[in-house]
Structures are given as C-alpha cells and as structure tokens.
C-alpha cells in the first residue's frame, strides 16, 4: 500500500501492549530470583502467624493466600490504592529494611513491608494482642495503632530473616496512611513485583501484608 493510505495504529493500545510485554520480560528475567522472593514471602507469612499465635487467642480461618503481583510504579515509588484490598476504608503502615543503619539513611532498601487492615477492624486486632482500646474514628490513633502492628510483624520478620538468611537487617520507623499515600511508598530500587499475602478470620479477608524485595536479594 502506498504512503498516505496508512490507517494509523492505536498508539495507546500499542504502548499498553509494549508495557505489558516489558513487564512480562522483566518477570521472566527475575525468574531466577523468584525462589528467593517466594521464600521471603513465606517467612513473612510465618512472622504474621507467630505474632498472632504467640500473643493472642486469634486463629486465622485458613492458610494465607500468597500472590505475586506487579508493582504499579510512580516516579520510583509504589502507588497504592489500599481501598481495593477490602473495599472499605483501609489503614496501612510500612517499614523498610536495609543492610545497615547507614544504608537505611541512604534509602538503600532491601525489603519493604506493608500491612493493610480494614480500619474498622483495627481496634479488635489490637485488643486481641492485649493493646488498649483505640478509637477507630480518631485518625491519629488509627495510624499509630496500625504502626504498632506493623512494628510487631516487622520485628518478628527481622528475627525470621536472621534464621533464614543469617542477616540482621536494620529497620526503619513506620509510616502510616489511610486509603492512599499521596507520594507513593518507598520501595527498593529496581523492584518490579511484590508478594501479597492475605489472611482470613472467620472466612473473611481481614489482614493483608505485602513484601517488596530488592532484586539484589
């Protein structure tokens, strides 16, 4: 066909297909790393179970569900739409891990951990862990409460990492958000995917934790 008779391709569709294929290629390139990422996700799952089994009478109603997912990135950060986890107002807290305190200061993260909870169930989770009552309508209390929970899980995860990899990682202070983080969340440089782990109580998804590993691990 001669020039001028071209029916242009839908450029947006073209770009979307290239983006998807690019992600698929990166996943493939990371296949060697997938075993490490999976073991890190299993360790996180174990850490969450230990926190609740050892400190409360709460039982999860089924084994946690592990899913590997692509990260939605925005200017080297992870975009989060937390409400999609429970279709309800969601509080979430994050902690970063690095090889040392200095690496932490330089934001050279090896792992990022995120804990999501349906806001209205947070007081019950904390009560089961012997914490005092918090007001689920008080934003600051909710953020502090979720931060407390992520600290508990992250502390246990840190111990799991020592057992798993003989690495004593440095841990950042928590950051807490409700529904979304305007600027996105810090993640290890070059991360493309994460493991999402969902926990059910009485057959309903009540807690979601995510681990974003660095490709260096």
């Amino acid at each position: 066909m001669s020039e001028g008779n071209n029916i242009p391709l839908d450029i947006n569709k073209f770009k979307e297909i290239v983006r998807q294929e690019s992600a698929r290629l990166k996943m493939g390139a990371d296949a060697d790393n997938s075993e490490v990422a999976f073991s890190l996700a299993l360790a996180l799952s174990a850490a969450v179970k230990k926190v609740f089994y050892e400190k409360s009478a709460m039982k999860f109603s089924s084994e946690p569900v592990l899913e590997r997912k692509l990260i939605t990135q925005f200017v080297n950060k992870m975009r989060v739409d937390a409400m999609e986890k429970f279709n309800a107002t969601t509080v979430f807290s994050t902690v970063d891990f690095a090889a040392s305190d200095d690496a932490l200061k330089r934001q050279e993260y090896l792992l990022t951990l995120v804990v999501y909870l349906d806001k209205k169930f947070l007081p019950e989770f904390l009560r089961l862990l012997q914490y005092p009552y918090i007001d689920s309508d008080d934003e600051q209390e909710v953020k502090d409460g979720c931060g407390t929970l992520v600290n508990l899980i992250a502390g246990q995860y840190k111990r799991e990492m020592v057992l798993l990899r003989n690495e004593d990682l440095a841990m950042s202070h928590f950051g807490s958000y409700i529904n979304s983080a305007a600027d996105g969340l810090n993640i290890p440089k070059g991360s493309t995917d994460k493991y999402e782990i969902s926990f059910e109580v009485d057959g309903v998804k009540r807690l979601v934790v995510e681990v974003v590993p660095s490709a260096k691990l």
Binding site: M1, S2, E3, N5, N6, I7, P8, L9, D10, I11, F14, K15, I17, V18, R19, Q20, E21, S22, R24, L25
Partner: protein, 125 residues
C-alpha cells in the same frame, strides 16, 4: 517501501544510513532514537515499512521490549526485524528468538557492512 532504523546512538544511525547508501539501497529511511519514538513512527507508517533495524539497549523502551510488543500486534507481527546490537551473548540471542521466533536477523556490532546488507536485502521491496 521504507527502512526503519531504531537506535539511540546518532553516530550508529549515521553509520548505518551511510552504509545503506553506499550499498545503493534507495529505500527511504525512517529513524527513531528509542523504543517510545519508534512506536509513534511504526503506528503512523507500518504499512510502508519493509524492514526494521533494531538496537537492543535504548532508554525508555528497549529494543527487546519493543519487539515483544510488536509481535503481539497483528499488523506488526510479521514485520521483518533485524536486531543490530552490541550484545552478542548466546543468552540474548536466545531471548530475542524466543520473543520473536520469526526474527529476520541478529547482527552484532561492530558488524561488517556486507553482513548487515546480506541480512537486509531479502526484505527490501
């Protein structure tokens, strides 16, 4: 018909174009300096392009990513693509053929002009 040259190095594009002219290849040459720009050029000109010369390492969208997308689009899937890349590793060659089983050629830089011309010629229209 036209030849599309996709390479982020202006010097490499010039070298390649001069080589095509010396070989008396008279097809019009379109250029793109990365995969993203190449998508725009391909979308607008795909019916006039007889062969694509594609670099691998490029900013924004790499050659392999672009090719992986092209083979999923029916209008572009059978377009002859010759990878022209500094990476001659067996692993990359294998990946390129895996992404595009109909890959028309894989030429490693620095290449001999006759090697590239031989790879291009069957696709000139």
């Amino acid at each position: 018909m036209k030849i599309l040259v996709i390479d982020d190095s202006l010097l490499d594009r010039k070298l390649l174009i001069r080589m095509l002219m010396r070989a008396e290849i008279t097809q019009e040459i379109l250029q793109a300096e990365d995969g993203e720009q190449a998508m725009e050029v391909l979308a607008a000109n795909y019916q006039d392009i007889c062969v694509v010369l594609l670099d691998w390492q490029m900013p924004k969208v790499s050659g392999i990513e672009l090719m992986a997308g092209m083979v999923k689009i029916p209008e572009l899937a059978s377009m002859p693509i010759i990878m022209v890349t500094a990476s001659g590793s067996d692993e990359n060659k294998r990946l390129a053929h895996q992404v595009n089983p109909q890959l028309a050629g894989y030429v490693v830089k620095p290449y001999k002009p006759e090697e590239l011309i031989a790879a291009i010629k069957p696709y000139l229209k």
